[in-house]
């Protein structure tokens, strides 16, 4: 190993065994070897930055989150299609209503509510309870909130109500499931048609003020006015 090669190999790797052997018989080379080793120790110290506290824990938590995220998807095969079908049904329904309202004389809000309930039967299939917080998260988009729920809510979805974005709720009562539409209104667009309405299966009531309308629909013969009052008393517009 000539001088140049010794230097090249030493600088490339101060821990090279061949280099150490070569330097053993040469004081000058040995001094350079020691110098480079000391230099590397300095380098290692300078590179040894502190690792952020709790990094390993954060990495593991991240992986756990990734894991549970992937596990949630494990639903039985038919359940996986429920959401897309419900969405598709809702979209078809909205489209149908649009053509209906575009081609015919303006539909009364009560008829609209009845049609909506009749068409969106999927709304009654929910069994899981939806928390007040979840309902309020949705309502917050309209600048509204409910102080309390009128009963066990099993459905809460945004719907188009006469061209107005609204929240479609279903809650369970002594008289069976009841449907509530909370429709935000800005002064100029009113739903038209106030008071009670009914068909051969359902009856309902609409009440509106400057902020919005609450429409309640329930099985024929249910005390809708009383329940409607419960809802509108709990409703706050911000």
């Amino acid at each position: 190993m000539n001088e140049l090669e010794f230097r090249r190999r030493l600088f490339a790797d101060p821990n090279d065994k061949d280099v150490a052997q070569e330097a053993a018989n040469n004081a000058e080379q040995n001094a350079l070897l020691e110098e480079l080793k000391a230099f590397d120790a300095q380098l290692a110290k300078a590179l040894d930055v502190e690792v952020p506290a709790g990094l390993a824990e954060r990495i593991l938590a991240n992986q756990q989150a990734d894991n549970s995220h992937n596990n949630v998807v494990k639903k039985s095969w038919f359940r996986r299609y429920r959401t897309p079908f419900a969405t598709a049904a809702s979209a078809t329904f909205a489209l149908g209503l649009y053509f209906l309202s575009a081609t015919q004389a303006p539909l009364l809000a009560g008829d609209h509510a009845l049609a909506h309930v009749r068409h969106e039967q999927v709304a009654f299939e929910g069994k899981d309870e939806i928390a007040l917080q979840t309902v309020n998260d949705k309502l917050s988009l309209f600048g509204a909130r409910l102080e309390a729920l009128p009963g066990k809510v099993t459905y809460a979805t945004f719907c188009n109500f006469k061209g107005q974005k609204s929240l479609h709720l279903v809650f369970q009562s002594e008289h069976g499931p009841m449907t509530v539409f909370i429709v935000p209104l800005s002064g100029k667009n009113s739903l038209g048609g106030d008071g009670q309405f009914a068909d051969e299966r359902y009856n309902g009531v609409i009440e509106q003020d400057n902020h919005g309308a609450t429409v309640l629909v329930a099985n024929l013969g249910s005390p809708v006015v009383q329940y409607q009052k419960n809802v509108s008393n709990a409703l706050r517009w911000l």
Partner: protein, 171 residues
Amino acid sequence: MTTKQKRYEALVQVYHGELYRFAYWLCQDPNIAEDLVQETFLRAWRSLDSLQDENAAKPWLLTILRRENARRFERKQFDYADVDNDTLVDNTGVSLDDEMEQAVIQRQINKLSVEYREPLLLQVVMGCSGDEIADILELNKNTVMTRLYRARNQLKEALTERQEPLKGAQN
């Protein structure tokens, strides 16, 4: 706990510190370094089954990290290396002179071009051999050894030049 989970936790415990330091000096930013390490381990978890031999874990993790780092440049065209990055690390309990000296060395390391800095980091921080570095960087070993030589040579020269002003005025 599953065997896979145990394997993974062992990898995290053994390598997260070294990988963080490597990433820190590679991208010269503590926040990006942490993101890189997080992303690397997440990808490692998702494809842990492809790691057959535990001894190959270090080069495997490094390859993932380097790929993630390269993606960062595809996404963003900022040149982080241009940022004046005088990284002063908190070395508590170190005397002022040592601290000063370390800061000077750190600044010089940051000034090395990435083609010299990277093999040096792999060798000093990650403890990789010349052959391992060649594999990770997909270079032949001679090229790697030449770059390592030049990296140390440049550092030593730069630090020798700096010696005088560091000592202050001499009467």
